[in-house]
């Protein structure tokens, strides 16, 4: 039980994934939501690395490099959108941006 296997990594990744999704769904502040997205991507990376180790295959590591890259790019664009939002509405609360509905 104590002996750490890929299953443990998987469990941790599930946990981070769930927490991340919870954050995206539940939080109002866009900055926190962006951070939660990073949590989700980290959980993916954990998976990839764990499987990579399990399978003795480098692809997982390579893949996670790209994941990190994409995470960075998305963070940049996300923060850009955030700034635009802030300029328009003087707030970072998502609930204010709900004019489009129905």
């Amino acid at each position: 039980m104590l002996y750490v296997t890929t299953t443990h990594y998987l469990a941790l990744s599930f946990l981070l994934f769930t927490i991340g999704i919870f954050g995206i769904v539940a939080r109002k502040n866009m900055i926190t939501v962006l951070m939660s997205i990073e949590l989700v991507l980290n959980s993916v990376n954990l998976n990839l690395i764990a499987f990579s180790y399990q399978l003795s295959d480098l692809t997982g590591q390579i893949f996670s490099i790209f994941t990190i890259t994409v995470a960075a790019g998305e963070a940049a664009v996300g923060l850009g959108i955030l700034i635009a939002l802030f300029r328009l509405r003087e707030t970072t609360t998502l609930d204010n941006a709900s004019e489009l509905r129905g």
């Binding site: 994934f17 295959d57 790019g73 996300g78 959108i81 955030l82 635009a84 328009l88 489009l100």
Partner: protein, 483 residues
């Protein structure tokens, strides 16, 4: 293993397009920058060049060719989608010109982003590992987020970008998580190997979870229920040409990878995903059509309609047959022209004297601009699936595929909902032809590129409906191997 450098030559179309995007960006940054029309011209020309190079590349490639260590495939299937995407982008650019004129935003970045997004789509169409496909997808998605928020001083545009971004990132996370699980189960992300690996890993519980999460991510991109939830808001909020681009090019590219992954990567799970796709397809057709019934905003109505059409196309996907594949191809081809045409008409009516967004704005259009009304009528007829339009032939093939494959119940839902769709499509027609507005001033057809694009779309819609045979022949050469 180092790839043979000559293989990079085969990437010429993609490289060309990406370089064009970059050049455009640079040109826009130098001095006062390039104007709207010039940028659009350059973009269209580069798209045409890309298409030309693409033709050349495919003429030298025999049948199906895997290059770059199995991460990139050149086949008829990718060829079709690339051409489709290039065409859609070109038309999008044509309908953007006037819109940008009025929006007062820098044009060169806009076109540059469109081109770069399109290059992402080209990679999607040809990608043969999940990694390549995904990174192509992200390329497309990231540009789309930016494009949706491009009119950043407009509250709605910003809101659309924000929603699109957050939900897109979440879905991307889900998709990626699925990929990671599949990787865990098989140790590969290359589709052919994945297919092999899955056959070996029948009982691995990672597999179903993996492909389901992957499917969820793909469904998000094609806006299938319940992952469609972003669509209406984003479509309404985004600048209209961008909406058209999302509804057409982005959706087409997403269908391309959906087919590629499901057929080539998950082929051994066919029986399992067929059922899920059937349910999603049914739900999508029902939800999309019914939700559209009470929409007053035309863009929102078209958004729901595009959701519904994704449901129709899924019918072709789940049939897993020759006719199913070509029906998907044919349908998306027709859908591209119809939808672009419809959005083009909306753009032409937008702003200034016409708001163009609520159905009531169309009242009496037949008197004010018989041309526009006739065009819109044609597009609405086509969307409903009434002959002699491409929409009908496409739907015909889709339902045929379903009936042949034994998915009659999905076909029944399809035909019934498409009959229901008449109600909301024809509400616009009703407003145009059957109602009178007080105004009688004619609508000026000022933007030649826009009008030309609309006319082209209309012509294509008709041709697809009357002489489908050449296009079917083309579609037939663009098939995937069946699982």
């Amino acid at each position: 293993m180092l790839p043979n450098p000559q293989e990079y030559l085969l990437l010429a179309p993609e490289i060309l397009l990406a370089s064009a995007g970059l050049l455009l960006l640079l040109a826009g940054a130098i001095g006062r920058g390039m104007g709207n029309r010039e940028s659009a011209l350059v973009s269209v020309v580069s798209l045409a060049l890309t298409a030309g190079v693409l033709l050349r590349v495919h003429s030298v490639v025999p049948g199906r060719l895997l290059i770059l260590n199995g991460s990139f495939v050149l086949d008829g299937f990718s060829f079709f989608w690339k051409l489709l995407v290039l065409t859609a982008t070109a038309l999008t650019i044509l309908i953007s010109i006037r819109f940008l004129d009025e929006g007062n935003y820098r044009a060169s970045e806009y076109y540059s982003l469109l081109l770069l997004a399109t290059s992402g789509m080209l990679f999607m169409a040809s990608g043969y590992t999940l990694l390549t496909i995904w990174i192509g997808l992200e390329t497309m998605a990231l540009s789309s987020y930016i494009l949706a928020g491009y009119f950043k001083r407009e509250r709605r545009s910003n809101e659309a970008a924000l929603k699109y971004f957050i939900l897109g990132a979440l879905s991307s996370g889900i998709l990626l998580y699925g990929i990671s699980l599949l990787y865990g189960a098989t140790g590969t992300v290359q589709l052919a190997e994945l297919s092999e690996g899955l056959r070996a890993a029948q009982d691995n519980p990672l597999v179903p979870l993996g492909w389901l999460l992957l499917a969820a991510g793909l469904f998000f991109k094609i806006a299938a229920v319940p992952f469609h939830i972003w669509t209406p808001d984003v479509y309404v909020g985004a600048p209209t040409p961008v909406t058209a681009y999302l509804a057409v090019a982005s959706k087409a590219a997403s269908f391309a990878i959906l087919l590629r992954i499901f057929y080539e990567g998950l082929g051994s799970l066919k029986v399992e995903w067929q059922m899920i796709v059937a349910l999603v397809s049914a739900a999508t057709m029902i939800w999309g059509n019914i939700a559209a019934l009470t929409q007053e905003n035309v863009k929102r109505m078209l958004a729901y309609s595009s959701i519904a059409h994704a449901g129709y196309v899924l019918i072709g996907v789940l049939a897993v047959s020759q006719i199913g594949l070509w029906s998907v191809i044919y349908y998306l081809l027709a859908y591209t022209f119809i939808t672009l045409g419809a959005f083009g008409t909306v753009i032409l009516l937008e702003r200034r004297e016409y708001a163009g967004e609520t159905a009531a704005d169309y009242a009496g259009l037949a008197r004010r601009s018989p041309f526009l009304a006739a065009m819109m009528l044609l597009f609405m007829i086509a969307l409903t699936g009434i002959p002699p339009t491409g929409g009908f032939v496409g739907k015909f093939y889709l339902f045929a595929a379903a009936v042949q494959a034994g998915w009659s119940w999905v076909a029944v839902i399809g035909v019934v909902t498409s009959a229901i769709s008449l109600y909301y499509y024809f509400r616009i027609v009703l407003n145009m032809y059957l109602r009178d507005s007080g105004q009688t001033t004619p609508v000026p057809l000022r933007a030649p590129a826009l009008v030309g694009a609309i006319a082209f779309c209309a012509l294509a819609t008709l041709i697809l409906g009357v002489v489908p045979e050449p296009f079917i022949e083309f579609a037939k050469s663009s098939l995937l191997p069946l699982p």
